[in-house]
Amino acid sequence: MSVLIYIDHADGQVKKVSHEALSYGAALAKAIGTTAEGLVLGKTSGDLAVLGIYGITKVHQVTHANLDQVDAQVFAALIADAAIAVNASVVIFSNNINGKAIAPRVSVRLKAGLVSGAVSLPDLTNGFVVRKSVFSGKAFARVEINTPIKVIAVNPNAYPVHTLEGQAEVVALDLQPRDSRIKVTATNKISGKVPLSEADLVVSAGRGLKGPENWGMVEELAELLGAATACSRPVADAHWRPHHEHVGQTGLAIAPNLYIAIGISGAIQHLAGVNRSKVIVVINKDPEAPFFKAADYGIVGDAFEVVPKIITAVRKLKGIA
């Protein structure tokens, strides 16, 4: 028996969300008295043995040229085969973009019940019950998995990374990927910016900013903090900001450590995408704005006066003239 954790990577680097998944898998393995092992598909740069610090004993790796592009069908077949090869009783994913595409397929291949969007370790006192986020962050469900093998996709930024001393043994796994039936023809990355879905800090603004020409201060604050920028839906719909910045019920759902909302009213559909943020700061000139009810910190004031003052204070804190 073992707990197998799928390790996602991009540009040769293991993703931060996989560090979380590894920590989660290691803690679960400890609770059920077995070992945690990782699985890497494709080539990475750097030594995978260091992943032992997250509490795993082995990293299995399949290196094959066909694995340079992520095809959920090809990846799921390999992960299911690997799960059988290492006799895994639980397979863990991060519930990120790739995890969402691959985990459901692995669930079907192994006929293993899936809980996606898990936010805490399984409760083992009575069966195998996993808490997951539902109703767009407005509630949690406790879901029991009824199958011998289980698949869990852990929400990004829901489980803290733990490290200890240790090295993992890196083992080449001899599995042959099947041919992919899709072809990636182009990749377009917005370079030099923190991707919103992975950002720890997010500075977001809404219709209160009046027009796209006023986003300079939002970008400046974000850059100072190393934050990603986001916006409310009407702002994206009006093309003041690109669509990929739209957060909320119908846009991206994020869970950063800090979400700063400037000139956003806090409509329920907006909150649905940001309510899992650890700390919410609201800057709004209307003291009755609903967002204040969901906020941890707030300033009632005109964004055009307040934000420049915040920028000055952050510069001072960081020792930037």
Binding site: Q73, L114, R181, T250, Y297, V314
Partner: protein, 247 residues
């Protein structure tokens, strides 16, 4: 070309989230039901756009649910679907639901199956992937655009920090999100014609439930907002740095 679009019934985005029966059931009193926005705005509208370009395309809708899902299926027909199929069963295990859709999809030999990226109630984002595996088809998730030319689909999908373009031959399963299409409102003609469009009810096939919901809980209430004076933005930065340790 035959397109199958999954249509899920979800509470309205402003619905109050509360639970009954010892926190085991969603409290449906006074709740308005809508088509899951991702299914409607993105998957369904894109399917209808493809049909408008090529009248030989037919768009079928599938819902796994009770008779109370029929009003939203009629709305989806009013938007431009040709025919709706309701699998007469309820459930919230995604494997069970996907098994039902997979059966209908196989029987109907569809070229393209479109789903929303997730439902706004269970947020599983797993039906599309499960379905694709059951049908042994490729799956492109989180698609932001879809073009069909002959038997080849060109799909753009979200990746972390950007976008990827993908070519794949039909048949194919695609989960749809923002960018794919713009929301529409049904017009009078659509509403009238929806009344006479076929809405077939079929009985479920045998399939297992691999998971079951034990209970629900609401998150603890926020402690309340700490307000800082607009003249003292420095204090906010200090609190975020020292108290919240956000940066």
């Amino acid at each position: 070309m035959k397109i199958l679009v999954s249509i899920s019934k979800t509470p309205d985005t402003t619905a109050k989230i509360a639970f009954t029966d010892n926190n085991t059931k969603f409290a449906t009193d006074g709740v308005q039901w809508i088509i899951n926005p991702y299914d409607e705005w993105y998957a369904l509208v894109r399917a209808i756009e493809l049909k408008e370009k090529d009248p030989s395309v037919s768009v079928h809708l599938i819902n796994v649910g009770g008779a109370d899902a029929e009003p939203i299926l009629r709305k989806a027909l009013a938007l431009g679907g040709d025919e709706a199929i309701r699998v007469n069963t309820e459930g919230n295990d995604s494997y069970y639901i996907a098994s039902q859709i997979a059966f209908v999809a196989k029987e109907g030999t569809y070229d393209l199956v479109l789903t929303g990226k997730e439902t706004i109630d269970f947020n599983g984002s797993s039906i599309g992937g499960m379905l694709a595996e059951m049908l042994d088809l490729p799956f492109v998730s989180l698609a932001t655009s879809l073009e069909i030319s002959g038997i080849t689909a060109t799909v753009k999908r979200e990746i972390e920090g950007g976008e990827e373009s993908i070519h794949a031959d039909l048949p194919l399963v695609v989960s749809c999100q923002k960018g794919m299409a713009e929301a529409r409102i049904p017009n009078m003609r659509g509403i009238m014609s929806a009344r006479t469009k076929p809405l077939k009810v079929v009985e479920p096939v045998a399939a297992e439930n691999l998971t079951s919901i034990k209970s629900f809980e609401l998150p603890p209430a926020k402690a309340g907002v700490k307000l800082v004076s607009a003249d003292d933005a420095g204090e906010l930065v200090r609190l975020l740095h020292e108290e919240a340790k956000s940066f």
